[in-house]
Symmetry: C2
Subunit: 331 residues, 2 copies
């Protein structure tokens, strides 16, 4: 069978099934980060591979932006487990014709975000390559025990941080015009694409206070990542279309597509988590310390009900695109 | 400046200089692995990026072999610091036209070697890509404190494990004939290329017994890696041409090139280490437990004397190729 028939998630599932868990491994393949033991201390490890022409295009982002974004993507995985970043290992494949200054700008982005997150760049590998390749691995601590994707229960509320769909619209604007304008709304959407914010503070606090029961970061679109959370938690979900948090710029620029970019657009790097209904009050009180607003967008239901998006009248809406599969979408 | 002018090691040096060390970091950029603290426990982290067409060619190795080799390369870095492997994170870029079975054979190689080394595959990332890309990150323990490249002193002996140059000859034979023959000597050389052995047992024992003072694995050719060790230790080195450990098959197949492949050929994944002269007896006694023979090949001298290879008459020999620079050799 060709990979494009099996798909990315089919492959991951096969690898997971064939891989023994091993000593000291609390969570292996299949969550946002691996959770391993180091002398009775919980460590999280997460890795992301970014490839020029597939994950990013140097037409739409500067080397500095790319450095920031590379790291934000990884930190978002850690945030989704309530972890605190500590060490970064960065392996790069670099075309030999690149300017040294450009590579240094990339590292400047990396260093700035690393330093802001209390993380140290400790090593990696470099090689020549045809396209620019970035493989970033982050090791972090999970002092309160990580939050996995699997703790959701029927009846739980579903929340997201921030607003959804801004990044997808930002990329769309970049691709259409390609110009980085000064116009506030456009600049906002583009910056949400180029400088996503990993919700480290919110993730750690939700873990520390034991509020989030299941958590995932939204990198491939809300519906797809909600699907992962539901599968791991063995629940279904109802999402209220009217409740989705949309920014002002999103409303101006999404045209007649309503919330569809917010449901299926990628690279938001917001957190999606489930909360027991009895904890609503505690979450409310914590709100200000999270560093980002949170919005209740739906609830967990029985698995057999699947995932539904309901309009204000309670009627189900359908969304054809359900996110991104690296292999199935092809090259 | 273009990267191909600065070169791989120039780039690494620039990155190292610009990167603050950070909390908990004992050794950052520039050794075989990073050495970080986790609750007063020493962790080692090492990462390697392997790219189809640059580091490997699927013409010369099966997916299973490639899986084994990928891991051996990483484990060798850990061995060179006297570490014990624990966790593996593997990120792959895979062409969508690859067969699922091939990818599974690759993982079989990974799993077999991981399991033999007491290591667990805990996660990673997968993506579509034009060429096959492998980024493997290994986290390990260093219970006896890691051996760095910088502990060599003038007067120290220099030793290597195993034999040198076999892998380079094996690759040459593969490229010429391309046929995996049953002939013993040829099969041996090819297997040294396709299935290198990370010297984990030797590395850990040399660290535990505090015998190796400076250590590095030979991945880019003896002379180049010796250069790294000498630079970090601020010493020079004399290598005795006649003392280089060459296998029987090497002697049969190296033709009139003598030890030149052993000095400059890549991918041996043997260990090079320095030893205080007074420890020769202790090393002798330990020999059998190392799992591989060790050979004294030279000694550390004053830095200003540089690195020399001497023939039986004590005359210096010159070797034009000094290993591999990913950027300078170009694509």
């Amino acid at each position: 069978m060709k990979l494009k028939e099996l798909g990315e998630f089919g492959l991951i599932e096969r690898i997971r099934k064939a891989t023994p868990r091993g000593r000291g491994v609390r969570i292996g393949i299949g969550d946002d980060a691996a959770w391993v033991e180091c002398r009775h201390h919980s460590l999280l490890i997460t890795s992301d591979l970014l490839i020029e022409g597939i994950h990013f295009d140097l037409q739409w982002s500067s080397f500095y932006e790319l450095g920031c974004k590379t790291l934000a993507v990884n930190l978002s995985d850690l945030a989704a487990m309530g972890g605190i970043p500590a060490y970064l290992v960065l392996s790069l494949g670099i075309p030999v014709d690149f300017k040294t200054e450009d590579v240094e700008q990339f590292y400047r982005g990396i260093r700035e975000l690393a330093s802001r997150s209390g993380m140290a760049l400790v090593g990696g590998d470099t090689s020549a390559s045809e396209h620019f390749l970035i493989c970033a691995t982050v090791v972090g601590h999970a002092p309160w025990g990580p939050i996995t994707r699997s703790g959701g229960k029927v009846g739980d509320d579903l929340y997201v941080t921030g607003t959804l769909g801004d990044s997808a619209l930002g990329l769309e604007i970049l691709k259409k015009g390609g110009i980085k304008t000064e116009e506030d709304e456009v600049a906002y959407l583009i910056s949400r694409h180029c400088f996503p914010t990993a919700r480290l503070k919110a993730g750690a606090l939700l873990a520390k206070e034991r509020l989030a029961k299941a958590m995932i970061d939204i990198s491939d679109g809300l519906l797809q990542d909600l699907g992962h959370l539901c599968k791991a938690s063995e629940v279904g979900a109802v999402i209220w279309h009217e409740a989705l948090p949309l920014s002002g710029p999103y409303r101006s620029w999404s045209g007649d597509r309503g919330a569809s970019c917010a449901l299926t657009g990628g690279e938001d790097y917001e957190l999606l988590f489930s909360l027991r209904v009895r904890d609503r009050g505690r979450l409310e009180k914590l709100q200000k310390r999270l560093g980002v607003p949170v919005t209740r967008i739906g609830k967990c239901v029985l698995a057999r009900e699947g995932i539904k998006v309901l309009n204000a009248q309670g009627e189900p809406l359908s969304f054809p695109v359900q996110g991104y599969d690296h292999f199935k979408s092809g090259l």
